[in-house]
Symmetry: C2
Amino acid sequence: VPTYRLDIAYEGTRFRGWSRQPGLRTVQGELEDALGRLCRGPVELTVAGRTDAGVHALGQVASFTVPSERRPPPTLLRALNSLTPPDLSVTAAGEVADDFDARRDARSRRYRYRIEARPIASPFESDRALHWPQELDRAALQRCAAALTGTHDFTAFTPTETTHVRFRRDVIEARFDEPEPGILHFEIEADAFMRNMVRVLVGTMLEVGSGRRRVEDFQALLAGRPRPEAGETAPAHGLYLLRVSYD
Amino acid sequence: VPTYRLDIAYEGTRFRGWSRQPGLRTVQGELEDALGRLCRGPVELTVAGRTDAGVHALGQVASFTVPSERRPPPTLLRALNSLTPPDLSVTAAGEVADDFDARRDARSRRYRYRIEARPIASPFESDRALHWPQELDRAALQRCAAALTGTHDFTAFTPTETTHVRFRRDVIEARFDEPEPGILHFEIEADAFMRNMVRVLVGTMLEVGSGRRRVEDFQALLAGRPRPEAGETAPAHGLYLLRVSYD
């Protein structure tokens, strides 16, 4: 019974997120339907990072086991991409160890949040970055990012009603870059993320960058504070799942 | 009676081209409607380069004259962008000489054609580049581009049924670049372009790059040959109007 790993990219605008929902267009739904046609039977995907509606992915990872004949991964890759819509691509496919599980075995996830920090919004960024026309203090943002590295209690950065039971996460790296003038990337890698965590972090850091909150106040939130003390949830369309790392 | 110049960018996917058409969503229609609301009366735009459905623009230029009180251009810019949809932005506005005409006064136009030359299509490029999974001979493409510089008869590169009366155009520059691996940009600047000209040039050069036509055959087409001797019209969604130059 072979197990496969798929690496997946999607433009999230027209998906209602990763998770299959009856009657809605989701990434899992589109992919499982394509796999079901190929394998002539139902296929269930395990995913490394469930993403919400509007969130993009460059390096999502999913795994599945299928009780059918082995398929050469290059054939599977080509066949899958011929069945998926233009806003969804399988970028790699491979056979892996029988017990591989894309979610359980992931050692870290890396996300990017893209901000268009200039007065006039580009029509090419409207679904792909948060437009922020006001001034932003880059140095203050960098100080926030620097404070994130290490282990913290992120209770303030996920909804109060939650299914999470552990609120500590290990942040391996967090930084702001400006790959071109006016395009800011916040990138963060951690062992795991809670629901909305990157988006609430960004919403709160943008208050610091706009002078409406002090860096010290942001730092204090990392010790486990109630959700209302943090800032707004930044919109989904700036968020990208960049990659998932395994041992 | 002041005359204004607008610099405009748009993501062409959801527009039926530049030119106003009753009942259809066009760039001219959206912009003239916004201007009409601001100026409280009909406004007619003159444009440097009419673009077809699906074609994008980074540096389109249009002009208009309006028999109303003068408006400071920064105010006009802000007000216009508050009325335009997310896939259309006015990037600059300025008052110009009374007799300025965005079409007549343009000295040259520069277009880019974007090709995603790799086996698997990125979901982020689906409306913004032509996906070309087959091999492409970069050197042969460069030889085609080099042959384009100078004055040629482009009869082969525009539909047979035409309103054009002159078929010679002066090409100032033409080149292929690969800004990142697998992303090819063909850029061409000329005094003016005929309908579909860049797209037929690209469609024909792609035959050369794929080994289905010789460079010498492409060169021979620049002496004024009938349309059927050239290749297919490349799709609209890879084409960008980059900029328009004035004296």
